[in-house]
């Protein structure tokens, strides 16, 4: 436990001294927040609330990128092998990476929630316990994905390629950037196999529909199972030495980490409600927009009639 805390403190300290960390973990997520809330949602509180889930999910998912790159850099530079000669274990190294990542991600998420509430006047942030659980389990599970990436790639170049290959479907198919209902039916059904889809959907339901953790058990459970699998796999494949290469066969083990969301995807494709809920949410938002639009038109008409009445009164 002491080793874990010692290493976590070091990782947090090093991240705070890293300009890249500030850009990718603070400036970029907040930039996305203002883009979504200010531009896409036009600052309208209920629209901001509906886009808050995707923007938080982007922040949570992005953590795997920095985590994998740091661990591979530590291995390539021979930093890990220096720790290997101390009583620190592979599990200490891995779990401290996840803990540090969590500690570093949470303040940005909280800032985004506070900005939504007080700057964009979102009336309710939904069920905060669900939001906290989803953000926490999401951060550690996507962080753990970063550890697997670091374990199965041999060089920084390979790591960046794999990060890119995973990042693009995660953000474009999950509803985090392109609204889920804009995707074709086939792509929607494929996206049901991605953990990111459930993180985005879960956060939306928690914020917009006030879902408590009991209604999100399936998502929370799947993310937890995914985290445990990825952590176990990365501890099995962990390498301290820069020259140690992973066997090509071992890369196939990564397929095992897909099991929780493969099962959830099959279940959702058959019985699930994610796609239906997304449609309902969009329809509700459209309906609210239409109602608001009609109310505005009525008000404009009334304003236009008002001067005539005033004129006739004068007459």
């Amino acid at each position: 436990m002491t080793n874990l805390l010692t290493l976590t403190r070091m990782r947090v300290r090093l991240a705070l001294r890293n300009k890249m960390f500030f850009f990718f973990s603070i400036v970029m997520p907040l930039g996305f927040f203002f883009l979504y809330a200010g531009v896409f949602a036009k600052g309208i509180p209920k629209n901001v609330a509906s886009l808050l889930g995707p923007v938080l999910a982007l922040n949570v998912m992005g953590s795997f990128w920095g985590l994998s790159a740091t661990l591979v850099m530590f291995r390539e530079q021979g930093i890990l092998r220096r720790f290997h000669v101390t009583p620190a274990t592979a599990t200490d190294m891995l779990v401290s990476s996840i803990l540090a990542n969590y500690v570093l991600t949470l303040p940005t998420v909280i800032t985004e929630l506070l900005l939504a509430r007080f700057l964009f006047h979102v009336p309710s942030l939904g069920n905060l316990l669900s939001v906290l659980l989803l953000v926490s389990i999401g951060t550690i599970s996507f962080g753990s994905l970063g550890l697997v990436i670091a374990s199965v790639t041999n060089t920084m170049q390979e790591t960046q390629v794999l990060n890119q290959l995973l990042w693009l479907p995660l953000i474009f198919l999950s509803g985090a950037t392109i609204p889920f209902t804009y995707l074709s039916s086939l792509v929607q059904h494929i996206a049901l196999f991605l953990p990111a889809t459930y993180l985005v959907a879960g956060l939306k339901r928690a914020i917009v529909d006030n879902y408590g953790p009991e209604k999100l058990l399936l998502i929370l459970g799947s993310l937890t199972a995914w985290f445990l699998l990825t952590l176990f796999l990365s501890s099995q494949l962990f390498r301290w030495e820069p020259e140690a290469r992973i066997a090509k066969k071992a890369k196939l083990y990564v397929a095992a980490t897909a099991i929780p969301f493969l099962l959830l995807g099959i279940w959702e494709n058959r019985y699930g409600r994610v796609i239906a809920q997304e449609r309902v949410a969009v329809e509700r938002l459209d309906e609210a927009d239409r109602a608001e639009h009609q109310a505005k038109q009525r008000a404009q008409r009334q304003d236009a009639n008002q001067p005539d009445q005033d004129d006739s009164d004068h007459k």
Partner: protein, 306 residues
């Protein structure tokens, strides 16, 4: 030999087709500085990394502080300190933070501030690792190796790549540890380092120990390579000098007669007598004792850095 803290018996390690360590055996006593001397690729680093618990041996037995590095690595790591050959720390980690960080891993720990003073790093206390020179980085590596007050310190090529002055600074630090009776196992391909720092040396080549003993013993075993270099007032016949008692060979090089001797004292006495009889005079006389490099060349037919 006093109580042995490290015992290696018939150690083997293979990487694919390459036999890196081919049946090495040695023991290190408490308070002793033991050196593995050999060229690059001789199997020194593989050996030391097996002792540290970083690599698994293929065969043989190893006990360090009473622990088997392969099966009792967790316990062992609290008892040893190491400065590895190819290693680094994060660039943005400060010197004092690095010491506190590593101190945090051990049950037994020394005061980081004391180590900074002892290793001359007080001025660099708050400097980032990335800002340190090669010598300062190596001194920090030594400080970290000592942070848990280890029973055995492993130093893998502690001065490799450093300039002569920095190398001497590191020697001073290691000599101080030696005076403190710290048990040290070091690997090196520098003759000077082995001769100056080690109580005992094992010469390693192609994964095997060719010979081991104190530097003095090893050089004595190669005593017939002692050279007496003399300048004479008048020319002398090489054959007559070669025939002198205690002289095994004689060659002339730029006016200097180089006598190879098995028994240097007899050779000098017979040389002086011979010169008196010939009414010749000694202008200068120098005795060049064999170095460990000579021992290595004699045993392997190659130079250390071939």
């Amino acid at each position: 030999m006093s109580h042995s803290v490290l015992a290696v018996e018939n150690l083997t390690k293979r990487y694919g087709e390459v036999q890196a360590v081919g049946g090495i055996s040695f023991q290190v006593a408490e308070g002793e500085v033991f050196g593995l001397l050999g060229p690059n690729g001789a199997g020194k680093t593989s050996t030391i990394e097996i002792l540290e618990g970083l690599r698994e041996a293929d065969g043989g037995s190893v006990l360090v502080c009473g622990y088997d590095p392969q099966t009792q690595s967790d316990e062992l790591k609290h008892e040893i300190g190491a400065a590895l050959q190819a290693t680094a720390l994060p660039e943005k980690l400060k010197v004092i933070e690095a010491l506190h960080l590593f101190a945090g891993f051990y049950k037994r720990r020394r005061n980081p501030e004391d180590l900074l003073k002892r290793l001359g790093l007080v001025e660099k206390r708050t400097a980032f690792y990335g800002q340190l020179s090669g010598g300062q980085k190596q001194r920090l590596a030594l400080a970290i190796a000592l942070i848990n007050d280890p029973k055995v310190v492993f130093l893998d090529e502690p001065t490799a790549g450093l300039d002569a002055q920095v190398r001497r600074e590191i020697y001073d630090i290691i000599e101080e540890l030696r005076r403190d009776k710290k048990t040290i196992v070091l690997t090196t391909h520098y003759i000077e380092e082995a001769e100056r720092l080690c109580d005992r040396v094992a010469i390693v080549d192609h994964g095997q120990i060719i010979v081991q003993g104190t530097p003095r013993e090893l050089k004595q075993a190669s005593a017939d390579k002692t050279r007496i270099e003399v300048r004479l007032a008048r020319e002398e016949s090489e054959e007559k000098l070669r025939a002198l008692e205690g002289v095994s060979d004689c060659r002339t090089l730029n006016g200097i007669y180089v006598l190879h001797c098995q028994r240097p004292p007899q050779a000098i006495v017979s040389l002086v007598k011979h010169l008196e009889a010939q009414a010749n005079e000694l202008v200068s006389l120098e005795i060049a004792t064999p170095s460990l490099e000579d021992v290595f060349i004699e045993l392997t037919g190659r130079r250390l850095r071939d």
